[in-house]
Point group: C2
Chain length 438, copies 2
């Protein structure tokens, strides 16, 4: 490798490259810290002035980062954040960590990637390496990013710049695997890009796994999350059937787990939450249409999960019915707004969808979440968490609904003081006539 | 526990009980050997005189049994096989290991369980413990077996006999897990039955896992295999899309496997074979209809897999097309008839379904399988394996189709001598212009 690519490779190997990270969210900021800890200069690009300021002042806002790690790399000067996108020209490499949500019609919202590529194309210097980490449909790097960057920069791929796709695999709250020690799949567009990608990520990430193209790399991430979506959907559907057959799906899953090979347990719940699993498979669904291909498994998963919040509302209604109460006017206390236990993230949380379903039937709603002081639902309802889970709060509710299994919730205390419990997360293990389970 | 149940429990604990095993196939015979090895007297009931004779002469016909183990328990007299069902009256316990196939319309074929229950009800003595191991729909033990046995025997459940469900988890060819060391889920009908079931299986099986009812136990087995069906179906569908997007699904799966949590790899193939995974979920589908419930995931899996043999035939046709050849009159050599590698079982094998698809388009078909000397397809075509996989056999075929990845197949040798290879199992790892992959 020689010319511009050779020089860049040398900079990576000597850790003299300046790395720009686009988007300082739950993916970008941990990545920026990991690179900066290796004494590489990192510039974090962030549209939100508030976030950039917080980073520069060493105020951490991401659960998975140790605050002292952020403070250290800010003090050392290795990491700086900025809202000034012209500073892209200072970077030898840029890693894009922007969101890729779906719009209301489950169509990929590509505007954040588009905007990042436009900025990069406009300001980058010759010889820049660009890697995308955002989950997206296969062919995005080649067919969506490349033309935008070439048009904005008037530069030529594989001469003046290189492209790569390497998805983030961040699992918020995971105690064992974080940015540094989670193996990373790297797919460069062309051999030079691949070599550069391996060299750059090799600075910060312990294990890399090269694949033959960006589209393979893009597909890997989609497969991982489609696997999860389909399996949660399957178990949700079986949970509904088991409910009718007087079989505890939770007992079934625990027993199935004793099979020492060929089984992986998934658990049912009021729906699928978070910013990956409910979304990523629909990226694939989007591009599949371009190939006249219908992904029936993903459609079926959508069909099951779209109805889960409604089915949970029915479950709450039928539980109240045992006490001769309607939803209308009943006091319903929801425990947990987060989409998974022990995190402070309520994005795409099924808890909020169930709340919306129940709220529109005129219930008197309150909630408690030790991690989330206030929430706004998709339908625009705003709630403030009750300050503490007291006996009085439990006893005062006509029905207590457990929507998130935060480890702080004490099932014995809840069952003792509540009139009626609908447990959608198998939090309550002891049988009780007060408790209705999913 | 006292009375008849107490006496039976004591017999189990002292290993003085006589255990009858109904059906000496790939489930029943290994189980009979495992009990007999513990010096418990076992009577094997088998409708086929040939099989009973083979067992009594110590001639083993099940791959997962060590021949010396069978010989030992026959010599010691611990195990005898019989076609005389009146000898059920000698047994303290009977374990039913009969097949539960589906008929041509994917309806459960319950006649083998029915016939076993009729025989048992007719001949059993008072105080008999009965356990079913055949995969079946939840509620079978309570609602299907119980009435037949009560009617035939004129005895009363939980007074004169006890019922239990504990599914076999046999995985033919598995080197690590076999009957003795695979944990077993036990669901008795009532507390006494549960205690008796744990005592009886505890004689022979290392790890037992009690559940609260037979229906939970029945559902566990269905969940395990539905999980597998759905995931193979998902990856089959993704493989078809990847084929159109110029992405190697095999490369994608290997890369996804580097994710250290939350992913379990399944591999695509020409369809789903064997006598469990393609069948078991449709048992659940059958009973679900009784609850006005549609299992959309299982339906979708069926939809995908039913078309796989046809899609594979199209793949073969399009590969031949590159060589300007039609299927009609072309010599097609299939490698592998078994449904999975290194076993001698071609039941429900997708290889045979692909052969049927290609045969009806007037191809000149031959096959080679070192484990299976002759086969009859579902459409009634009969083939005899070519004696050896020679250079001449490979070179003489217009197309070689790898349908089973037996470890004896040498990909280099195959690719060197074949004109054209359609590899449905990722047997060939090195890229070659001769090779077309699923």
């Amino acid at each position: 490798m020689n010319g511009a690519a050779g020089k860049l490779l040398e900079k990576f190997n000597k850790r003299e490259a300046v790395i720009g990270i686009f988007g300082l969210g739950y993916v970008g900021l941990p990545l920026a810290v990991v690179f900066a800890k290796k004494n590489v200069r990192v510039i974090g690009f962030e549209k939100s002035g508030k976030k950039a300021e917080a980073v520069n002042e060493g105020r951490n806002y991401i659960g998975d980062i140790k605050p002292e790690d952020l403070t250290a790399v800010i003090k050392s000067g290795a990491l700086t954040a900025t809202t000034d996108f012209t500073r892209i020209r200072e970077c030898d490499a840029v890693i894009i960590c922007v969101p890729t949500p779906l719009d209301k019609f489950k169509k990929p919202e590509m505007k954040y990637i588009e905007s990042a590529c436009t900025d990069i194309g406009r300001y980058m210097k010759k010889g820049t390496f660009i890697s995308l980490e955002s989950t997206t449909y296969p062919t995005t790097t080649e067919n969506f990013m490349r033309p935008i960057i070439e048009k904005e920069s008037k530069m030529t791929l594989e001469e003046d710049f290189w492209l790569c796709f390497s998805a983030e695999r961040v699992d918020p709250g995971n105690k064992n695997y974080h940015t540094e020690n989670t193996p990373k799949v790297v797919g460069g567009l062309g051999e030079t890009a691949q070599e550069l990608g391996m060299a750059m990520y090799g600075i910060a990430i312990q294990t890399l796994y090269p694949v033959s193209s960006p589209r393979v790399s893009e597909m890997v991430k989609i497969l991982e999350n489609t696997y999860r979506l389909v399996n949660i959907s399957l178990v949700n559907e079986l949970a509904l059937l088991c409910g009718q057959m007087n079989i505890s799906i939770w007992e079934v899953i625990e027993a199935a787990k004793t099979k020492p090979y060929g089984f992986h347990a998934f658990y049912p719940g009021p729906g699928i939450g978070g910013h990956c699993i409910p979304l990523d498979p629909f990226y694939l669904d989007y591009i599949a249409k371009n190939y006249n291909f219908d992904l029936t498994m993903i459609h079926t998963a959508g069909l099951i999960n779209n109805q889960m919040p409604h089915r949970m509302a029915v479950k709450i209604s039928f539980a109240l019915n045992r006490h001769k109460k309607p939803i209308n006017g009943s006091k319903i206390l929801f425990l947990g707004a987060a989409y998974k236990p022990d995190i402070d993230d309520e994005r795409e949380s099924p808890a909020l969808m169930v709340i919306d379903e129940i709220a529109k039937k005129f219930a008197d709603i309150s909630y408690f979440d030790p991690f989330i002081p206030e929430v706004t639902t998709e339908h625009g309802r705003h709630y403030i968490s009750i300050p503490a889970l007291t006996k009085e709060a439990l006893a005062g509710a006509d029905c207590v609904v457990i929507t998130t299994n935060h480890s702080a919730f004490d099932p014995d205390f809840i069952v003792e003081h509540a009139q009626l419990v609908v447990d959608l997360r198998n939090t309550v293990k002891k049988p009780s006539p007060k408790v209705f389970k999913l």
